[in-house]
């Protein structure tokens, strides 16, 4: 790959990713000076482990946003798929089959979203707000409103690790990032959904079957959501119907910090995962510095707002 940049990207600092990396590195250096524990390998692994669920969800959200869509139901969809997993395991189903069932559930949810959005041409934001309620309601119905335990059946996921240091769930996140990056940048499907996000009319008139492509993106998103759900279940060893809510907005924020726009057609998955990493680093730094838990939430909010403003620095100078 050449490093030649386009006319606009003449300055590398305009790339959200470069900015994010600088911010993350600076933050790591400063916090490590105050408390050297921060830079320890175990803490770094913990941070990665903490963002693994969000990271996988962010990949789903990034793909959808780049292709011109959005999905606000992924939080509740994730909880629903984990609830299905828990119920299947509790009912005595084998692990492999139960996992398959959980994945199918989320992919069906994605199919539902994609089908309605592509066929009705309604705004995906509102449609998925609605389906989000459907998924939440379904999870409540299945569980009767209470949380479900996995009884240690997923503990193996925390135990498997590469070189005895990098846990499986982190590897799954890394895999999701690599696969998504490849899918978007190096496949016909990927380039076509980017074109669709950039200008849907042009894509349609250029012979791209936009209805089909939209549905497929939501189904792929569903698959990733299920993987996130399994990781989530393994980390918590239990699942509550409301456990996933809020994740969709965090994924959206991470994607936007990383340079993905609501208009679509722009942004990179590598930027999005950096956005994710930033939120993880902030959270861990505040913990290690012993910041009050309530204050931590407010500070996180402030840093997110700053990051979004900073990543939008190019547009600030425009008058309209």
């Amino acid at each position: 790959m050449s490093n030649k940049k386009t006319a606009k990207g003449a300055s590398m600092f305009r790339d959200a990713r470069v900015l994010l990396m600088i911010v993350i590195v600076l933050m790591v250096i400063v916090v490590s000076c105050i408390n050297p524990k921060f830079i320890r390998l175990t803490n770094i692994v913990t941070i990665l482990q903490q963002i693994s669920v969000l990271g996988i969800l962010t990949m789903a959200m990034s793909m959808l946003m780049i292709s011109g869509g959005i999905d606000l139901s992924i939080g509740n969809m994730m909880a629903l798929s984990a609830v299905v997993l828990a119920t299947a395991l509790k009912g005595g189903m084998g692990l492999g089959l139960a996992v398959l069932l959980a994945i199918l559930t989320a992919m069906l949810c994605g199919l539902l979203n994609g089908f309605i959005i592509a066929k009705s041409k309604c705004v995906p934001l509102i449609i998925t707000l609605g389906t989000s309620q459907i998924f939440y309601g379904a999870a409540l119905l299945i569980t009767g409103g209470s949380f479900m335990s996995f009884g240690g059946k997923l503990d193996f996921m925390r135990k498997i690790s590469l070189f005895n240091t990098i846990p499986l769930m982190v590897l799954l996140m890394v895999a999701a990032v690599l696969v998504m990056s490849y899918l978007i940048n190096r496949t016909k499907f990927g380039r076509r959904i980017v074109a669709m996000g950039g200008n849907e009319k042009n894509a349609y008139l250029s012979g791209i079957k936009v209805v089909r492509y939209k549905i497929i993106t939501y189904v792929i998103s569903g698959f990733l959501v299920a993987v996130a759900g399994i990781v989530f279940a393994a980390r918590m060893n239990s699942i509550a119907p409301a456990a996933g809510s809020g994740y969709e907005l965090n994924a959206l924020v991470a994607a936007v910090i990383g340079g993905i726009t609501f208009e679509g057609g722009r942004g990179t998955v590598s930027g999005a995962i950096l956005g994710c990493l930033l939120t993880g680093v902030i959270s861990s730094a505040l913990d290690i510095l012993g910041v009050d838990a309530y204050l931590k939430i407010a500070i996180t909010g402030i840093i997110i707002v700053l990051a979004v403003v900073l990543s939008n620095i190019d547009n600030i100078r425009k008058k309209v």
Partner: protein
């Protein structure tokens, strides 16, 4: 045809109301304007012509205060300034009507005319008062629009009238009109010309920027040609008869024919046929066919249904009925995807909205359609196709910073060439062009005509919708005139001339 009455403008014993003197404008060392002197008299229409990039817009931006000139002075009403601000310029009575749509689509004409300048009492808008004012303006300048209609439901030309009314409501001394008729059909363009005349008679001067030499000749008291940031010539046009050659020669620095001389290719068998096409259940039935090597022109007024017909043919829009035959075989075409599969290319009328992904690179835009022929079940790296795209870029002479540049940074002409390049790469054999050269400069047009001629010569066939009559006349082997959604007549050979086409398009003989 619309007749424009005029009186030769009397320049004796008059002083210009605005005089720009020795204007130089540099952008980081590059001279965009190189010592321009330009003036306008009270009640005069002074036309400014020149190729895209000649410096017309830069000069007007200096007059409207958007740019500060590097050197030179601007004298308005006897007072001399070295630069203006947008506010000062407006206070001095200079107003611009932009080509782009700067109206609020969901508000009606009256509201738009008073946006930012509402007539109100105690913070409440006095709508009746505003409406009265608008009606006064309409009466005074003989403009007929529905002032209560929302902009999005108005025709493009009525929107243009709203913009001009908005400008007039501010009682300017001078109005700059930037390509006011480029979106008009012939009949409405005539109305604009009448309006210009009425505005002049009210003592308001007009600087009129246009690519349409025909209308420039009809309305200009004087014509100034700008090339490479310099004034080449200023002509008096008292008799409304300045030869086009004179102006075009000045514009491009060499004599050009506004009628492109097309090579005539041998025409083969019928390649493409549209049979029994109906857009809706009660619309007229349309039939036409195109032969190999032939260019079929579709003419007609804006809104006559030309675009709708070609969009229905390519499956971009649904149709009620109709069959499409390619080389005698019936093809099932219900979507652009089907039509591309069948070998049809559709160069749509609005490149920015429909033809390009503006934030994608030249390379990716040009690969978008041809991608379907690339056998890459999974791995696909667009960079690898640079050697295949480069010859097309060279052939069309696309000027760009690099193949990786986003197309939004290219000029209109080059953007349009990228659209064509996309279809050339896909190697289709039936090319449907919808207003292929709208709003692009003379040299890009010539490149486009050459590419079209080459396509025809190579045994493809072409359907071309165009409002540019010289273009349509010089490129077409045959012309269908569309009116009210139906094919009203078919012209060929010597019958393809402006007079015949306009008469058929307007349907004047029936009356």
């Amino acid at each position: 045809m619309v007749k424009v009455d005029f009186m030769a403008f009397d320049y004796t014993n008059k002083e210009p109301v605005i005089k720009m003197d020795g204007i130089i404008k540099e952008f980081s060392g590059v001279r965009a304007l190189n010592g321009i002197t330009f003036d306008v008299y009270k009640g005069e229409t002074h036309c400014l012509v020149g190729e895209n990039g000649a410096g017309k817009s830069t000069l007007m931006k200096i007059l409207s205060g958007a740019y500060v000139p590097t050197e030179g002075t601007i004298t308005i009403d006897g007072k001399t300034y070295t630069s203006l601000t947008p506010r000062l310029s407006k206070e001095l009575g200079v107003d611009i009507v932009y080509q782009e749509n700067d109206l609020v689509p969901t508000m009606n004409a009256v509201e738009n005319i008073f946006v930012g300048n509402e007539i109100s009492r105690g913070g409440l808008i006095r709508f009746d008062e505003q409406l009265k004012k608008v009606r006064e303006l309409m009466g005074r300048y003989h403009v007929e629009i529905d002032p209560m209609q929302t902009i999005e439901h108005m025709s493009v030309s009525d929107q243009q009238f709203v913009k001009i009314l908005k400008s007039l409501s501010g009682k300017p001394k001078i109005i700059i009109m930037d390509e006011p008729t480029s979106m008009f059909n012939v009949e409405d363009a005539g109305k604009v010309l009448d309006l210009v005349r009425n505005i002049n008679q009210d003592g308001i001067s007009i600087i009129y920027i246009s690519h349409f030499l025909e209308e420039v000749r009809k309305i200009a008291d004087r014509i100034t040609v700008i090339r490479d940031g310099m004034v080449i010539n200023t002509y008096f046009n008292a008799e409304r008869n300045i030869p086009f050659d004179t102006i075009t020669r000045d514009m491009v620095g060499r004599p050009v024919d506004i009628f492109y001389t097309k090579e005539h290719n041998p025409i083969g068998d019928v390649m493409f046929e549209v049979k029994n096409l109906r857009l809706t259940h009660d619309s007229p039935e349309i039939n036409f066919s195109v032969r190999q090597g032939e260019i079929l022109g579709l003419s007609g007024m804006v809104g006559s249904g030309r675009t709708e017909i070609v969009r229905a043919v390519t499956g971009a829009d649904p149709r009620f009925s109709g069959d499409i035959y390619i080389n005698g075989k019936k093809k099932k075409i219900n979507s652009p995807s089907d039509s591309i599969e069948a070998g049809m290319a559709h160069i749509t009328e609005d490149r920015q909205l429909q033809g390009l992904t503006l934030n994608a690179s030249v390379l990716e835009n040009m690969l978008l359609v041809g991608l379907r022929n690339i056998k890459a079940p999974f791995h696909y790296n667009c960079k690898k196709f640079t050697p295949k795209i480069s010859p097309i870029i060279d052939e069309l002479r696309i000027k760009m910073p690099g193949i990786d540049s986003e197309v939004m940074y290219l000029s209109g002409g080059n953007q349009q060439k990228v659209v064509l390049g996309k279809w050339l790469f896909a190697k289709e054999n039936i090319y449907i062009f919808d207003e292929p050269t709208r709003g692009i400069d003379v040299n890009s047009k010539a490149d486009f005509y050459k590419a079209m001629t080459n396509l025809a010569k190579a045994g493809n066939c072409i359907v071309m919708v165009s409002s540019d009559l010289p273009e349509l006349i010089s490129m077409s082997d045959r012309v269908l005139v569309i009116r009210d959604g139906a094919v009203k007549s078919e012209l060929s050979g010597a019958d393809i001339n402006e007079h015949k086409i306009i008469k058929e398009a307007l349907g004047v003989e029936k009356k």
